[in-house]
């Protein structure tokens, strides 16, 4: 017997120290004991974590069914009593109340007679109860009791070892999870990714069916789902941690509970708050702890503790990530702002380099579309017309394809946009019902359009576009329109903000350019007037000098000439003196003629304006030179068109044509053709009469051409050189022009153009000449 016992105990020690799993060890120990003691049934009841209930874990009959587990509360039945008292309990069927108290056991061993319960415990803890049952009525002798005691100690050791092993395994798992979570949290700064990882790791660690993270939106104060993992029950099955009212009570430390779904299945949830510096940042929740068998379990305090640890990690990581995100977005914003402001500054600087409106528009458009500028796909400038009635397209540009856009911004600003956008036909009436382009001007405000309006120009095919007015001194002079139609990118607020800053400056420089060109035009006019005044000053000085000299010279000339004639009368016909005297007379005559011309040019001749027929004036003048022309074998061709009467000084105009005819005659010393044509000319500011005088004298040498209207310039050996300048003065007094068309080798054509006062708005002369009602007001002139 003793050797039996020794063999049994040896076997027991071998089993309890073997490396097979805890469950098998336990099962083997119980089986072996039952066989050794020859009892019908041996059961092991383990104390659960609540330390309240003892559940059947091992049976010598075979595997314990999972459903309908046999349980005893502490103090209930022999099992409960043995556990509660930590004493061996023996019970027999015949004893009163035994069958009732141990009801569950009847199922396993019907008609049992003996029940013996032995607490399985060490010095500190109770782990469970070993129950032996038999059909016989039997007792356990001291040897058997000692054996059983030894077995319970072995069981306790095995269970403790298993528990410790499980516990350390769990600790290791938790630590590795925390390590993994910590690593994950520090590995990424992308908030979204971070939250995903936290939630999935949490669910896995706690072996929950699902997990969710709710973050309080700081802007709205609302809680929203930030991340989810696994199976998350609908909201009615799981409450969301409520956001405490500001200044109200703090949130509960955690929420734990259970609900039932429509099929009657129980779900469990556990929610812990995410608090940072006393503020609720959100909550972390897990749902339905799953056993390896797929059953749902409530969460235990260890899970809760782990969840709190996770929550602490999450809050820190969240704060870090949020701070990082804020810093990063601030940095990015700063960088964008610096970039935009740099672009703005560069564009502004370029805008200050010119006052040419076209150039300014080019710079502006390049700045708007260049990637280093404001980077819009397309930009159009529209300006309000002078009457303030219409907004019309002035210039547009489109961003060139990427390969062509390798210029830097400053290089691009120095040249016109590569892809102009035809916008010349954009005409938008400035009425409130004509869309936001018109409204931008009328209300002087910007519009961000997200849906294309009807009535906009067909070329404006974008759905989203932005319009900003160009405002100077409370007056909108135009608008800038931009879109990202080609790339389909949305219009970001920042470039639009910069655009509005740029628009202010662009408006100013465009207005300055307009003023500058107006000043320039005025200046040109003033210069012209000054030149004319200088010329007239010069001529006045010249004329006073010339007339003074002429008077002084004329008296002696008259005496010389007069006495020469008298001498001529006294000299004999065949005397050699006669020739001399005649030379004196002729030379004096020539000088007198010269004097007369000078005085005609310089003298303040009074004008006699009247209505005259230009053709008649020409005919009258031709009579004066006809004999001279005939003498030089010059043919006259006349093509005179009937013209309205001119308001002019006919005597002065005769002088003009006399001079032109005389010049022509002198140019054709070998004969030729003098052609005279008249015809009407329609100009922007009214109707003119033109008279052409052409000769066939070979033309004027180029080197002297620019001098021909200068007073005292002459190519002839005789003559004053005043002919053409007198003609020019007279014509300009009539607000006309005299032009010369020189064909070298052929001849010269002088074209005299004179306003027909009734049809022209000709400064002073016109105002005198025509009644106000008959004035034809020019249109389109400047």
């Amino acid at each position: 017997m003793a050797s039996d016992r020794t063999a049994f105990l040896t076997q027991m020690v071998e089993i309890s120290t073997s490396t097979i799993s805890f469950g098998e060890r336990l099962s083997n120990l119980v089986h072996l004991l039952a066989r050794h003691l020859k009892v019908d049934l041996a059961l092991y009841f383990g104390l659960d974590k609540s330390k309240e209930v003892l559940g059947l874990q091992v049976s010598s009959q075979g595997p314990v069914p999972v459903s309908g587990r046999l349980e005893f509360r502490l103090g209930q039945g022999v099992v409960g009593e043995a556990a509660a008292t930590r004493q061996i309990r023996l019970a027999y069927r015949y004893q009163e109340g035994v069958v009732a108290a141990n009801a569950g056991l009847e199922r396993l061993l019907p008609e049992y007679e003996t029940l013996a319960a032995f607490p399985v415990a060490d010095d500190n803890f109770l782990y469970g109860v070993l129950l032996l049952a038999d059909h016989r009525e039997r007792t356990f002798g001291p040897a058997e009791r000692q054996t059983i005691h030894l077995v319970t100690l072995m069981l306790a050791g095995t269970v403790r070892q298993a528990l410790l092993q499980e516990d350390s395994k769990k600790r290791i798992a938790e630590l590795s999870v925390l390590f993994e979570v910590g690593k994950a949290l520090s590995a990424t700064m992308e908030l979204d990714e971070l939250l995903e990882r936290v939630v999935s790791t949490t669910a896995k660690v706690i072996s929950a069916r699902g997990a969710g993270l709710h973050i309080v939106d700081r802007a709205t104060g609302q809680t929203k789902v930030s991340s989810q993992y696994g199976q998350v029950p609908p909201a009615q099955l799981c409450p969301i941690m409520p956001v405490p009212a500001p200044g109200g009570a703090l949130e509960p430390p955690f929420i734990q509970g259970q609900t039932q779904d429509a099929e009657g299945r129980t779900h469990y949830y556990l929610i812990v708050p995410l608090t940072f510096k006393g503020h609720l940042e959100g909550s972390l929740c897990v749902f339905d702890k799953i056993t390896p068998e797929g059953e749902f379990q409530p969460f235990d305090p260890e899970n809760r503790q782990l969840l709190f640890t996770m929550a602490g990690l999450i809050v820190n990581a969240l704060e870090n990530a949020l701070t990082y995100q804020q810093v990063e977005s601030l940095a990015e914003r700063n960088e964008r702002m610096v970039r935009n402001l740099t672009a703005l500054q560069e564009i502004s600087r370029a805008l200050l380099t010119t006052v040419n409106r076209d150039r300014l528009l080019e710079i502006l458009l390049q700045g708007l579309i260049h990637p280093q500028g404001l980077g819009f796909d397309r930009a159009v400038v529209l300006m309000v017309d002078e009457a303030g009635q219409t907004l019309h397209g002035v210039k547009g540009a489109q961003r060139p394809p990427e390969e062509a856009a390798e210029l830097t911004l400053s290089e691009a600003l120095a040249r016109p946009p590569g892809r102009p956008l035809p916008v010349a036909d954009w005409q938008i009436p400035l009425r409130p019902d004509c869309g936001s382009l018109a409204l931008a001007v009328l209300q002087q405000r910007a519009f961000h359009i997200h849906q294309r309006e009807t009535g906009t120009p067909a070329a404006l095919d974008a759905q989203e576009y932005f319009i900003t007015p160009l405002v100077v001194k409370d007056r909108a002079i135009g608008v800038i329109l931009v879109d990202n139609q080609d790339s389909g990118r949305p219009l970001e607020p920042e470039p639009l903000h910069v655009l509005q800053m740029l628009a202010t400056q662009a408006a100013l420089v465009l207005e300055n350019a307009r003023l500058y060109s107006a000043i320039e035009a005025n200046n040109r006019e003033l210069m012209l007037i000054r030149e004319r005044m200088l010329e007239s000053d010069r001529l006045a000085a010249l004329s006073s000098l010339a007339s003074g000299m002429a008077h002084e010279i004329r008296n002696p000339l008259v005496s010389i000439g007069g006495f020469a004639r008298r001498i001529g009368k006294l000299v004999e016909k065949d005397s050699p003196l006669r020739g001399y005297v005649e030379v004196i007379q002729e030379e004096v005559s020539r000088l007198e003629k010269l004097l007369k011309e000078i005085l005609d040019f310089t003298g303040e001749n009074l004008s006699y304006f009247g209505d005259h027929d230009l053709d008649q004036i020409i005919e009258d003048t031709l009579v004066l030179v006809q004999r001279d022309l005939d003498a030089h074998n010059i043919k006259v061709v006349k093509e005179l068109a009937p013209l309205p009467r001119l308001h002019c000084d006919d005597r002065q105009l005769k002088q003009v044509f006399y001079n032109l005819f005389t010049n022509a005659r002198q140019a054709m010393s070998q004969g030729g053709t003098l052609t005279i044509r008249t015809y009407p000319v329609e100009r922007e500011d009214g109707l003119y009469a033109a008279a052409e005088v052409s000769d066939t004298g070979g033309g004027i040498p180029l080197e002297v051409l620019h001098n021909i209207f200068n007073p005292f310039f002459s190519t002839k050996d005789y003559g004053t050189g005043l002919g053409l300048s007198i003609a020019q003065r007279i014509v300009s007094r009539h607000y006309g022009q005299i032009e010369v068309k020189n064909e070298l080798g052929k001849g010269v054509t002088f074209i005299v153009t004179l306003p027909i006062a009734k049809y022209c708005l000709v400064k002073d002369a016109g105002r005198q000449a025509a009644p106000a009602g008959a004035l034809h007001v020019p249109t389109g002139g400047r």
Partner: protein
């Protein structure tokens, strides 16, 4: 014999005109300024006066005015180197305005017109 006064500050002109007119058969008086001319007008019963405009002491315009004041029917011809005043002679109430010329035809013709009878 018809009497003509020639007033001119230029001695050469006075000489030329008087020689020319004497040859035509007139009796010629001369003066070198307006004042002298007025004196002669008062002393001599003249038929025609020829006045230069620009003269020292008293110019031809003033002399013309005074002569016409006292002798409205005495013909006075202005003879001058200033061609450009031709248009104004009427306002000065002269009977004729001659621009001086070495060709004395104008002078002879004008004198003849006033003194034909």
């Amino acid at each position: 014999m018809k009497k003509i006064l020639v007033a001119d500050d230029e001695m050469a002109i006075r000489l030329l005109y008087s020689e020319e007119l004497k040859e035509e058969g007139y009796e010629v008086y001369t003066a070198s300024n307006g004042r002298e001319a007025l004196e002669i007008v008062e002393k001599v019963p003249l038929d025609l006066v020829i006045l230069d405009i620009k003269m020292p002491e008293m110019d031809g315009i003033e002399a013309l005015r005074q002569i016409k004041e006292r002798h409205p029917h005495l013909p006075v011809v202005l003879s001058t180197a200033y061609g450009e005043y031709k248009q104004d002679f009427a306002t000065w109430a002269s009977d004729e305005y001659l621009v001086k010329s070495s060709d004395l035809e104008d002078l002879r013709a004008t004198v003849k017109r006033y003194l034909k009878d």
